[in-house]
Subunit: 184 residues, 3 copies
């Protein structure tokens, strides 16, 4: 500890810079990730869960806010609801190129869904069920958007155990304290 | 006020921590939300407006930057332009499940659009017109992307009163001062 | 420089506020943009590159993390892979309105792709190739997601020169130090 009478303006500036540097490194916003999951297809189910579980694994406080079609990802019956459709997405890898009028035929959603699941299985990619379980184990907050629940007529009992409920204001009070804010 | 000769390094550190804590709490980035609206369908019109009006309602300085298809949301004729298509989105709730080749039939966009509007009306969800009006009343900045306007051949007179005009650089100078940055 | 014995608590607070103000202005998070490009169609190729090159042009440290369908944007053969499909997107400007069952006909993806390219050309919008080159010249980091590469069976040699490789953890350690974080 310096003696009082040795504290000059230069000393004070040095102390301040140390403290400010420490404060920026400890800024909770650097350690918080807030993700919106708004889509309800198999392909778009992956990004929010992969980003959230990775964020939690590197020590970040992480929340996913499920809204609009994204609510389906955390319903108890998600496995029957989460499909993937090749129509309108020419970027989806298909065994053979096909026009949308074919990808739109009856049964093609089932084909595309099972094809994507099988590709993921062969590559040892976690299933959606495994990702949800990892997220809960890593203390990722899974929050269902109450306004959309009401619009779609969904009840709290339709959702997986561990899911919380909240509105857009709750999401924003978390997001304003986060550097990482993503709308998937 | 302490006497000068009582200021020790410990005193200085205490003062610094108080000031830094105050500065972080007052960080304008915590109170700023910058949202890009890039999609022009009825379903994707809701998230930017709901998030922006909620952010403004809890006191945040809020902007929506409309680009690409999102420009349609703030045109004077938005009501004729903003539709919703079930094709390619197996997550959209439909009265009966149907393959994309059926949802793609003539007239289905009108059916899906009117179905979604009616579902929203029954649940007392604000219309797009009401959301735009709320956003303007709450001083949300609605900014049309000038580059996309030029590409699509849109004129300033095509847009609603109160809309501002700016480029990607304007968006980024706002976004770099915001914790909440979302691309919808 | 003030004499030590003139430093009062008020002096110290003034020094602290100056330093804190300087630190916030120099906060590297304000000068960092981290963008995810997850889509692989011509229309959605533009936003990440336009935002990233603009951010870099105004002096921000900028990265694009390419994942899922977005990987196609930085493959050597991107020109053959990046198409645009009107199906399921009623917001896309078309010469005449058409139902999805027509936009889904064989050949319509080629028509829509060539139409969009020609519209962009007439308006002097940069091509995707020009945007990629600008991004590399402006030192934007282009990072391919290793996990998706493995799932899709893509090799490092499939990618353009200058592309880097990394995982979701690498993306997040950059993103947590960025104010601008966008998922396109």
């Amino acid at each position: 500890m310096l003696e009082t009478d040795q504290l000059t303006e230069a000393d004070v500036r040095r102390i301040v810079r140390e403290e400010v540097d420490r404060a920026f490194k400890a800024d909770p916003a650097r350690n918080t990730a807030t993700i919106i999951a708004s889509k309800g297809t198999l392909d778009w189910a992956y990004p929010p869960f992969i980003l959230a579980t990775t964020a939690a694994a590197i020590g970040m406080k992480t929340s996913i806010f499920f809204t609009f079609y994204g609510l389906n990802l955390i319903r108890k019956d998600f496995d029957k609801r989460i499909l993937v459709a090749p129509t309108g997405n020419p970027a989806m890898p298909m065994p053979v190129p096909m026009p949308d009028v074919l990808t739109g035929m009856p049964g093609m959603k089932a084909v595309a869904t099972s094809m994507m699941k099988s590709m993921f299985r062969k590559k040892n990619v976690a299933t959606l069920r495994e990702l949800i379980e990892s997220a809960l184990e890593l203390d990722v907050n899974l929050v269902a958007c109450q306004m959309t629940m009401e619009v779609f007529g969904y009840e709290p009992k339709d959702f997986l155990d561990g899911v919380q409920f909240g509105g857009a204001a709750a999401f924003l009070s978390e997001a304003r304290r986060s550097h990482v804010t993503l709308f998937v």
